[in-house]
């Protein structure tokens, strides 16, 4: 007996990279405490490197996923299984974390707690990467909480009164959802008698009425627990508070990296149900929150005047969109959800980076941005159109088409109908902002107004440019994104 499990460091690299980053930062901080200006750049480099490794994986094939941490021969199950979709999601998590770091770097130049920030963020990214590849209950739970807990601390770290309040909201919701997740995991184990997310076990459980009941309850609790991370209505209440309270970098992390990892976790659960559990049950469990998110998110976003809060409510609506294809419980639905969340994450990253760059606290603060600052204005406009799903943000439209095609194929009409309504309301939300961007800048809107935590730094600019390039590229060739998720 050589070892308990096989370990392939190259396959694990996307998760190991941030871990390495954590170690380096902690060691560095221990050597020269308080003088860790390099911590954030270092973390960024590590994250991008990890993302590149992960991207390599997304070129692979679905039939031969990257596997490691496999048990010896008779069992043969692998605790880490990363197909192309998983790899792409991991890359998205890492890149979004890097973007968040960039904003934090610009936003808190001169702060002393950069090492802590970097550590927390890297830890959370590790969790996000790991949860995507986890295929058993234990790793899944651990990775998920590793992704969640540091974020609470990150929000609280800002130290203001509202940050504390937001962190408290986030905390209590996350605690409750953690309890639900554990309970759900226990019920899952009870129902399927298997600690992995395997469709065979689910199919077996579904065949027995008693176990089916427990399984449905388990899925309910798991969806509820993940719904919190995804900001699905009704698990969304913390979102606007935490978004508005945190640093913009943290907000970006919450909005992008955290959402991608949550979706990755959800995909792990749902992919076990595909083909095993009949659609309608799961369709209702996922469909109700999805529809509620779509409608409530857009409707409330329509009345927001703070860009960050608007984006928070838009996140809630977009979370609904991510879940829409999952209601079909089909392989195409999984792909559509992944494509949607990646697109959403990219667009939101760009939008928040631009908000950080301008420091606007109200929509009016971005008035005429397209003329004052064509780069930022154009990037924001494109990102909003992607979120709205209108060309020239073609990718936004493509992923909406993908998202709707799953429920249409499965005949989940109420969800499709809600999607139609949400598209239109969403247009109202985002075009309202785009109209402000297009407007003639008022003379009063001088640069002097740009107070607050403006981040005119170079790294924010890099984020904006890189994000825009990604959006333009995948808009022109949607295959680049969608192909990596099959």
């Amino acid at each position: 007996m050589t070892s308990l499990v096989s370990v392939d460091a190259v396959v694990l690299a996307p998760a190991l990279a941030p871990v390495l980053g954590v170690v380096l930062v902690l060691v560095g901080d221990a050597v020269r405490p308080g003088r860790s200006r390099w911590a954030l750049p270092l973390a960024g480099v590590v994250l991008v490197a990890g993302a590149l490794v992960a991207l390599r994986g997304s070129l692979g094939s679905e039939l031969e996923p990257l596997r490691t941490l496999c048990l010896p021969a008779p069992d043969g199950a692998c605790l880490w299984t990363a197909g192309p979709r998983t790899s792409t999601l991991q890359a998205a998590v890492l890149l979004a974390s890097a973007a968040a770091l960039a904003l934090l770097h610009d936003g808190r130049a001169g702060r002393r707690d950069t090492a802590v920030t970097a550590t927390l963020l890297l830890a959370s990214a590790t969790g996000g990467v790991a949860v995507a590849a986890a295929r058993d209950l234990g790793s899944w739970l651990v990775a998920l909480e590793l992704a969640t807990v540091p974020v609470v601390a990150l929000v609280a770290l800002r130290g203001t009164r509202s940050a504390a309040h937001g962190a408290l909201s986030l905390l209590v919701t996350s605690l409750a959802s953690f309890a639900l997740l554990v309970l759900g995991a226990a019920l899952w184990l009870t129902a399927t008698a298997d600690a992995t997310f395997s469709s065979e076990a689910v199919a077996a459980a579904w065949a027995d009425p008693d176990r089916r009941r427990v399984l449905v309850l388990a899925v309910t609790l798991l969806v509820a627990g993940l719904g919190f991370k995804l900001s699905l209505v009704p698990f969304h209440a913390w979102t606007p508070q935490a978004y508005a309270a945190a640093d913009l970098g943290t907000t970006l992390f919450l909005a992008a990296a955290s959402k991608v990892s949550a979706v990755a976790a959800l995909l792990v659960v749902v992919s076990a149900l595909v083909g095993a559990a009949p659609g309608p049950a799961v369709a209702v469990l996922l469909g109700l929150p999805a529809v509620a998110s779509l409608l409530l998110g857009t409707v409330v976003a329509l009345r927001q005047d703070d860009p960050v809060r608007l984006l928070a409510w838009s996140t809630i609506a977009q979370a609904g969109w991510v879940v829409v294809p999952l209601t079909a419980v089909s392989a195409t639905g999984l792909r559509a959800a992944a494509a949607y969340v990646v697109t959403y994450a990219a667009a939101t990253t760009v939008a928040l980076a631009v908000v950080a760059r301008t420091g606007a606290r109200t929509l009016a603060g971005t008035r005429g941005l397209l003329r004052r600052d064509p780069l930022a204005g154009g990037a924001l406009g494109l990102a909003l159109l992607v979120l709205a799903g209108l060309p020239p943000g073609v990718i936004g439209l493509v992923v909406k088409v993908l998202a709707l095609s799953a429920p249409v194929a499965a005949g989940v009409w109420p969800v499709a109908a809600a999607g139609v309504v949400a598209v239109v309301l969403g247009l109202a939300v985002y075009l309202r902002w785009v109209a402000v961007l297009l407007a003639r800048p008022e003379p009063a809107d001088g640069p002097g107004e740009e107070a607050g935590d403006t981040a005119h730094g170079r790294s924010t600019r890099v984020v904006v440019v890189a994000g825009t390039v990604v959006l333009v590229l995948v808009s022109a060739l949607p295959q680049l994104l969608v192909g990596g998720l099959s």
């Binding site: 919701t173 959802s177 449905v216 049950a281 409608l295 009345r303």
Partner: protein, 625 residues
């Protein structure tokens, strides 16, 4: 010679006329040339051609509907085309003088050319679509011509009224023709007639061989007679509108607001007469459909007499001529309606032919006289024929013809109409008897107002009106027309119009009736206006067309505008309300959502989570256990 050649010159003249409209001389020359060439071509064809010549355009690819766009000429059509071209040439030549001072003469000349082209198209059309084309273009041109002096509110209103009234009637016309074409799956006139014609020979043979009529109809594939009657009635409605017959009669008198040459054209040879041409084309179907014949016959009869009476009582001589047109067109339509199956529509067409000659003469002459006298009212025109010798001759011949005195062209044609009506009355399957009776009455009234017109125009007055710079062209036009009116009856010798013999008895009857009318008119002596003597109290009502205009307004215009207001209101307040309602509802929902989340209490999130879990769990477990 392809029939398209008849239409082309005037179309070209119209097109080029728009281009050269600034230069009066060019415009005039072009217009006269266009119609003149057409006249020549028509005459040459009429003389040289014996049978039917068909001209094609590439047919329209329309799937299951065949639209061959055929034109056809035969001697009758060529005769009518010739007279149309003649009148148009006369009008064009005349208006070079009449409208010499007008700043929009060029437009006028081009419009007249287009108008002529449209009428020629209707005349030679052998395709229902082309008929509609000519028909509608004429309507539009009438709008432009009547409203030529658009600075005058009365002219604007008259133009609007003319177009709208005829267009409303055209609803029937278009639907009728569309229905006929739909039955035949073709718009070719021949195909339509074949498709809708009653296969009489087949039915008779079947009935003789012992089957019932119903079976015979079925066996022979006879078209639906009821539908055919409905369609023909629809077409007749359109014709009634364009020809200003009851109940659409009122627009034509108002149309006198247009320049006199335009009136001459509209009244004499084109628009109002076009209905006769169209119905003549559909005659084989019409003859088989008693209901359509009755509708047409009754409307024509009522119009004939009513218009004649109104004509007599008009205080304005130009309007008198207008009403006389209405009456005369009714005679043509009456002839078509009354003609029995064997007779054919040629009596009506012959009357069209002669009416074109004498009515254009009268209008052009009155136009000259009005220029000389400075107005068209009977009092103003009194004695104005003295302005020029040609006027005296023109009025004499014209009114004789209008009255239907034998030997002049109008008399010749009217006798044939009488004879046809008699045949129809004898055959007994149509409105022949009604038409006959009313026609006789109308003849008397017509003679009376013709006498009145002549008396008024040629009365002795102290001050002789001056001729007023008439160009030789204009007076030559009048002379030519006068001569043609006198000798036009000789057209019968060509054998173009297939009409029966007229016995001496009819001649005698006509003379008697006309004499009666003249005698009545002369009751007040030679120096007084007969209308003042006989119809003083009727005159104010007649001048207003018996107030039919108000009826139109009350029955059609006002309800439609009211309906339009209601619809406009509904459009913004009901149809659009759901749109605005959605916006309001969305905003309200957003407001509610914001209110619900205003507190941002940490505990609220937890509560929501628990509640949702309970609900979802219950739903899931209960639904799928």
């Amino acid at each position: 010679m392809t029939p398209w050649l008849l239409v082309l010159p005037t179309v070209l003249a119209a097109g080029l006329g728009v281009a050269v409209r600034r230069d009066d001389r060019w415009a005039g020359a072009l217009a006269v040339t266009g119609t003149g060439v057409t006249l020549l071509l028509a005459l040459v064809a009429w003389i040289s051609q014996s049978g039917t010549v068909v001209g094609h355009l590439p047919s329209l690819p329309l799937g299951d509907l065949e639209v061959p766009l055929t034109l056809a000429t035969d001697p009758v059509r060529l005769a009518v085309a010739a007279v149309v071209a003649l009148v148009a040439t006369a009008v064009q030549a005349y208006s070079t003088w009449y409208l010499a001072a007008d700043d929009r003469y060029g437009q006028f000349a081009a419009t007249v050319s287009l108008f002529t082209a449209a009428m020629l198209l209707v005349v030679v059309s052998s395709d229902l679509v082309l008929t509609v084309v000519g028909w509608e273009v004429m309507g539009w041109c009438s709008y432009l011509l009547i409203g030529h002096w658009s600075r005058r509110p009365a002219a604007r209103r008259a133009a609007l009224k003319a177009f709208l009234v005829t267009r409303v009637a055209d609803i029937g016309f278009v639907l009728g023709l569309v229905g006929l074409a739909a039955g035949a799956r073709s718009t070719d006139l021949g195909a339509v007639v074949r498709a809708w014609d009653r296969p009489t020979a087949c039915i008779d043979a079947a009935v003789v061989s012992g089957s019932s009529l119903g079976d015979a109809l079925g066996a022979c594939g006879a078209p639906d007679a009821t539908l055919r009657a409905v369609l023909l009635v629809l077409v007749v409605i359109g014709v009634l509108g364009k020809s200003a017959q009851v109940p659409f009669q009122d627009w034509l008198a108002d149309a006198m607001e247009g320049p006199t040459p335009a009136s001459a054209l509209i009244h004499a040879a084109t628009m109002v007469a076009a209905g006769t041409v169209v119905l003549a084309g559909l005659f084989p179907l019409l003859a088989d459909s008693p209901s359509a014949r009755w509708v047409l016959g009754l409307a024509a009869s009522v119009t004939m007499l009513l218009a004649a009476v109104l004509a007599f009582a008009q205080s304005d001589l130009k309007r008198m001529l207008a009403w006389s047109t209405v009456s005369q067109v009714a005679i043509m339509l009456g002839a078509v309606a009354a003609a029995p199956d064997g007779a054919g529509p040629d009596a009506g067409l012959l009357h069209l032919w002669s009416h074109a000659l004498f009515k254009s003469l009268l209008f052009l002459a009155v136009g000259w006289a009005a220029v000389a006298a400075g107005g068209t009212a009977a009092t103003a025109l009194r004695g104005s024929a003295a302005a020029a010798p040609v006027l005296r001759a023109a009025f004499l011949v014209g009114f004789l013809s209008l009255a239907g005195v034998p030997l002049v062209v109008g008399g010749v044609s009217k006798e044939h109409v009488l004879a046809t009506a008699w045949d129809g009355a004898v055959a007994g399957d149509g409105p022949g008897i009604v038409v006959l009776v009313v026609l006789v009455l109308t003849s008397a009234v017509t003679a009376a107002y013709s006498t009145r017109g002549y008396l008024v125009l040629t009365a002795h007055v102290r001050q002789r009106p001056t001729a007023g710079g008439v160009t030789p062209a204009a007076s030559a036009v009048l002379w030519v027309l006068t001569v043609l009116v006198v000798f036009g009856g000789l057209v019968l010798l060509t054998g173009t119009f297939a009409v029966g013999e007229v016995s001496l008895l009819w001649l005698l009857l006509t003379v008697l009736v006309v004499g009666l009318g003249v005698a009545v008119a002369l009751r007040g002596g030679f120096d007084r206006d007969p209308a003042e003597v006989l119809a003083r109290r009727l005159t104010p009502h007649a001048d207003r067309g018996l107030g039919v205009d108000a009826v139109y307004r009350r029955l059609v215009a006002r309800p439609v505008v009211r309906l339009a207001r209601v619809v406009a209101f509904l459009d913004t307040e009901v149809v659009d309300a759901y749109v605005r309602g959605t916006a309001v509802a969305t905003r309200a929902a957003g407001w509610t959502g914001v209110r619900l989340h205003r507190g941002e209490r940490p505990s609220a999130g937890v509560g929501l989570v628990l509640a949702a879990v309970v609900v979802l769990g219950l739903v899931g477990v209960l639904a799928w256990s």
